[in-house]
């Protein structure tokens, strides 16, 4: 595992990541395995993060090397959508048994790769390392190399066993796997001055498709989205893009930065959430492309499109503004998304009464402060009980969070909206913002709240 340790360290020293640059040498050495509190931890593991980041590549087989827990308990549970192949939704795992634990699981892994190639013939197989197989010393890097040679197909090791750290670290290690083994290994059929990469967008609920038509209209081509609705070939040839957008999170900063370094692909950090962020992102894409030689008329065309789309979005949201103004939102999300959603909600007059910043970087926190004012209620670690109390006492009107905490709101008989990975609605771009506002309105004004909150008549009689 020496290779892996170096990799983790390297990812940790990421210059583009100010979270780490802010740390002392010694702190950094400790790496991402920030000691979680036993008995009070809740997040996903590095493997989870790696899978989230790469599974949206639709036409490859994602093979999980480990016992049944890692894949059996979690497969097909994410909302990344595909316009083509469905292979990414097939659960592949070596499901290792006791004998493998004793004698090593490499033989089984090798055979599993062969079985997949024979049966499903994907353009590549991604092999995910997990805790047990890492602990017993299965060397997936070497094995994948051998398998690639033997079968003449890219077999990509994704070395992010759960116990090395958090989901976020897993995202980054997944990025490393792409940088080391995929990006730059194939060539696109043709290139244009309008080719971009979008990095860190997973096409959850089809969100990429809320943005793509606008780019199409501008003549901007998504050479590769890493990794939403991506094909292997697109990612492999993504090094020929002229510019890149890194979607509002540090999760894949390493890809953006190293592609800039290696292939001279400048990038900016942007977001598709919220009207002004969306417009900013389009602007920056246009600017970067023009800098790199695209026709300068792109800038004007972009401004025209922004003006048109903003007007359209505001018009569609107008009926909601009055209904939502002053409504108080409790926003519990994996930090990186926080400020971007905060900005979006404030655009329609919603008040943010609190947000979690547990996973946010210093920069994220600064932006939230900018947006919400100095006395922004940022919670580092809000316990479920505190969230419940806040809702129960009606200090917030609605909670926006991931699926796991929805019942804290529902049991307090307060509205809740899913804004994490498993959500069913797409909230990106102009249409997405309108959809988010519509969903919040639907949740807040649903008539069930009134009935659900009323005590049964006999209990009411008791109380009065």
């Amino acid at each position: 595992m020496a290779g892996l340790t170096t990799k983790v360290q390297e990812v940790f020293d990421e210059p583009g990541c100010d979270k780490n640059q802010g740390k002392s040498e010694k702190e950094r050495k400790k790496g991402c395995t920030k000691q979680l509190q036993p008995g009070a931890a809740a997040g996903g593991c590095a493997f989870d993060g790696a899978k989230i980041a790469l599974q949206p590549i639709t036409d490859v087989a994602h093979l999980v090397h480990g016992p049944i827990a890692c894949e059996g308990n979690s497969w097909d549970n994410r909302g990344a959508k595909s316009s083509g192949s469905r292979l990414y939704r097939t659960g592949f795992t070596t499901d290792i048994n006791e004998t493998d634990v004793v004698y090593g699981g490499e033989k089984r892994l090798f055979k599993a790769i062969k079985e997949i190639l024979d049966k499903y013939d994907p353009p590549a197989v991604f092999v995910y390392q997990t805790c047990v197989t890492a602990l017993i010393g299965d060397d997936i890097d070497a094995l994948c190399k051998a398998a690639s040679e033997k079968f003449g197909k890219p077999i990509i090791p994704v070395n992010a066993p759960g116990f090395v750290g958090s989901k976020n670290l897993g995202n980054k290690l997944a990025g490393e796997a792409l940088l080391d083994h995929v990006i730059g290994t194939e060539e696109p059929e043709y290139t244009t001055p309008y080719d971009i990469n979008i990095i860190g967008e997973y096409n959850l609920a089809g969100e990429l498709w809320q943005v793509k038509p606008l780019l199409d209209e501008l003549g901007v081509r998504i050479l590769s989205c890493i990794s939403g609705d991506a094909r292997y070939h697109e990612v492999a040839s993504s090094h020929r893009a002229k510019a890149a957008m890194m979607v509002c999170s540090k999760a894949m900063i390493n890809i953006a930065r190293k592609m800039d370094e290696r292939y001279d692909i400048p990038f900016f950090e942007g977001s598709f959430y919220g009207i002004s962020d969306m417009s900013d992102s389009l602007r920056q894409i246009a600017q970067l492309l023009v800098q790199k030689g695209a026709g300068p008329d792109l800038l004007e065309r972009t401004e025209n499109l922004i003006a048109r789309e903003e007007a359209r979005a505001w018009e569609m949201m107008a009926p909601y503004r009055e209904r939502l103004a002053g409504k108080r939102v409790l926003l519990i999300t994996g930090g990186v998304k926080s400020w971007s959603v905060v900005a979006a909600l404030q655009e329609v007059g919603i008040e943010i009464v609190g947000t979690s910043v547990k996973k946010s970087t210093k920069e994220d926190k600064e932006r939230i402060k900018e947006l919400m004012g100095e006395d922004a209620h940022m919670f580092d670690d809000m316990t479920p009980r505190e969230m419940y109390a806040m809702l129960k006492d009606a200090r917030a009107d609605i909670m926006l969070s991931g699926g796991r905490s929805q019942f804290i709101a529902l049991k307090a008989k307060m509205p809740w909206l899913d804004i994490n990975q498993e959500r069913h609605h797409a909230y990106a771009g102009y249409d997405g913002m309108v959809a988010l506002v519509r969903e919040i309105d639907k949740a807040l004004y649903n008539p069930v709240w009134e009935q659900a909150r009323k005590p049964a008549p006999w209990e009411a009689a008791w109380q009065s």
Binding site: T33, Q35, L36, Q37, P38, G39, A40, A41, A42, G43, G44, C45, D48, L63, G66, P67, I68, A69, C70, G72, N73, S74, D76, N77, R89, G91, F92, T93, T94, D95, I96, N97, E98, V101, F110, K111, A112, E115, C131, V132, L135, I136, P161, G162, F163, V164, G165, T383, P384, R385, Y388, G403, R404, Q406, F407, L410, K411, A412, K413, E422
Partner: protein, 454 residues
């Protein structure tokens, strides 16, 4: 009747199986004011949590000892100690249940030994029961984890009791039973004037109630004291073969005899159950159940037209597979494909030619031409590809509402399930067309052609 085969392939595709630790954890969730903990890396807990949240649509108490690379190699005693102390501080549970995972089992953590040391160091924990169960991910399946956890619970908590309470009975509920099933069973047993202690009791904790306050642990479920007093019961009803070892354990500790009901789905299975309750209680069968029985018989008669000769493919854990395949066979169906997750004595009794320990790929490859697919929600892709009607059963069911209230026991539950399945057949019946009886052609899709093709 069935030949049991374990497929030898290196790669499981579209797993049917889930892991032991989360099976064990779910069993712990059937205890009141309990905090289940997985001793492993945090990801295992996160996956289990998401899975149960999506199935039950309930808040799920589940913690982790948060092992990482370094602590794994050094051994997890400190993490277990800290986890217990943190949980006690934050959640004040009445009991903590710890399941090991593949990671800590591979390392060889001696958790029982650790717990002894921790207890010595922390006398303040003396009154807090902590149950540990070994549940390596790389062995067996969800149902086994559940069974092992229940066995450990009774081993540790049930107290010997020379004096029995005349109307008190134990009910050991298998993992194939939903909270709704438990409610139904309790009602039936109580209607005979018996007072049941159900273990584990998900009907208290995961039945979808809206409590008045927030609780970080389970709210409802079997109380620790109730488990302790299981030794005073006159008999243990074993619901599901995999609950047998726990029953034996109670028998050893407190001399409580047991009777196994390997299923409560189907007419004869319920007849046996009701007759037994009548005998134990010394009470005649209440009118309510005579009527329900008669309704079930009527449902079987009405339904048999549509069930006869139908080919069914089922993927489920052994005891659920046994229950549903037996019912369908009794209704005249052919169990064409039976796939399961783990070995069990029930498998060879399944009314099918062959039972495979395998995955959903195995099921899909064999299910072409079947009239109905039955498995958990992960069968949805297969059902779409094969364009065959699909009934969701088992766990997880994440793309339909009401999984926790789905009924699969009793006369009433059997009757309704027959209607539900019968309606699937009716809704997908092939209507005759002009070509139905035309001579067989390549790729013909008429009824006649299909029948001949099978």
């Amino acid at each position: 009747m069935a030949v049991v085969s374990v497929l030898r392939k290196a790669c499981a595709v579209n797993p049917l199986k889930m892991s032991q630790p989360i099976g064990g954890a779910l069993a712990f969730m059937g205890l009141d004011n309990c905090m289940p903990v997985l001793h492993g890396s945090q990801g295992c807990t996160a996956f289990g949590l998401v899975l149960f949240v999506r199935h039950f649509r309930e808040a799920i108490p589940l913690q982790t000892t948060a092992m990482n690379e370094v602590t794994t190699i050094m051994g997890g005693i400190d993490n277990i100690e800290q986890a217990i102390l943190n949980i006690v501080k934050r959640a004040k549970p009445a009991i903590i249940g710890i399941c090991s995972t593949g990671l800590t089992e591979t390392k060889g953590d001696d958790v029982d030994g650790y717990l002894k040391l921790i207890r010595k160091k922390h006398p303040e924990l003396d009154t807090l029961p902590i149950v540990y169960v070994s549940t390596p991910d790389y062995k067996d399946a969800f149902q086994d984890g559940w069974a092992n956890a229940v066995t450990r619970i009774v081993q540790q908590l049930v107290e010997p009791a020379p004096k029995k309470i005349q109307n008190q009975v134990n009910i050991l509920a298998g993992s194939h039973l939903s909270p709704g099933d438990i409610d139904e069973i309790r009602e039936i047993v109580e209607d005979f004037g018996l007072s049941p202690i159900v273990l584990p009791d998900l009907s208290g904790s995961l039945d979808g109630h809206v409590p008045e306050d927030f609780s970080p642990t389970t709210l409802g479920g079997t109380k620790v004291d109730a488990v302790r007093s299981m030794g005073q019961s006159v008999v243990t009803l074993v619901l599901g073969e995999h609950m047998l070892s726990a029953a034996v354990e109670i028998g050893i500790k407190a001399e409580v005899p047991y009777t196994v009901f390997d299923r409560l789905l189907g007419l004869e299975a319920n007849d046996r159950f009701i007759a037994f309750l009548s005998e134990v209680s010394g009470k005649p069968v209440p009118l309510k159940y005579r009527r329900q029985r008669s309704q079930l018989v009527d449902a079987m008669l009405d339904g048999h037209f549509f069930f006869g000769g139908k080919k069914i493919a089922i993927g489920a854990e052994p005891d659920l597979l046994w229950a549903i395949s037996s019912l369908l066979a009794e209704m005249g169906c052919e169990i064409a494909v039976a796939v399961t997750t783990t070995l069990s004595p029930m498998l060879e009794k399944i009314p099918a030619k062959e039972v495979l320990v395998g995955d959903l790929e195995d099921m899909e490859m064999r299910a072409k031409g079947c009239d109905l697919l039955i498995t958990h929600s992960h069968g949805r892709q297969m059902a779409e590809r094969l364009a065959i009607p699909f009934l969701r059963m088992g766990l997880p069911i994440f793309d339909r509402l009401g999984a926790g209230h789905k009924l699969g026991v009793g006369y009433r539950g059997t009757r309704d399930l027959i209607f539900e399945i019968g309606n699937l057949f009716l809704a997908n019946a092939h209507e005759a067309g002009p070509d139905t009886w035309a001579p067989l052609q390549e790729g013909g899709s008429g009824n006649g052609a299909q029948a001949a093709a099978h």
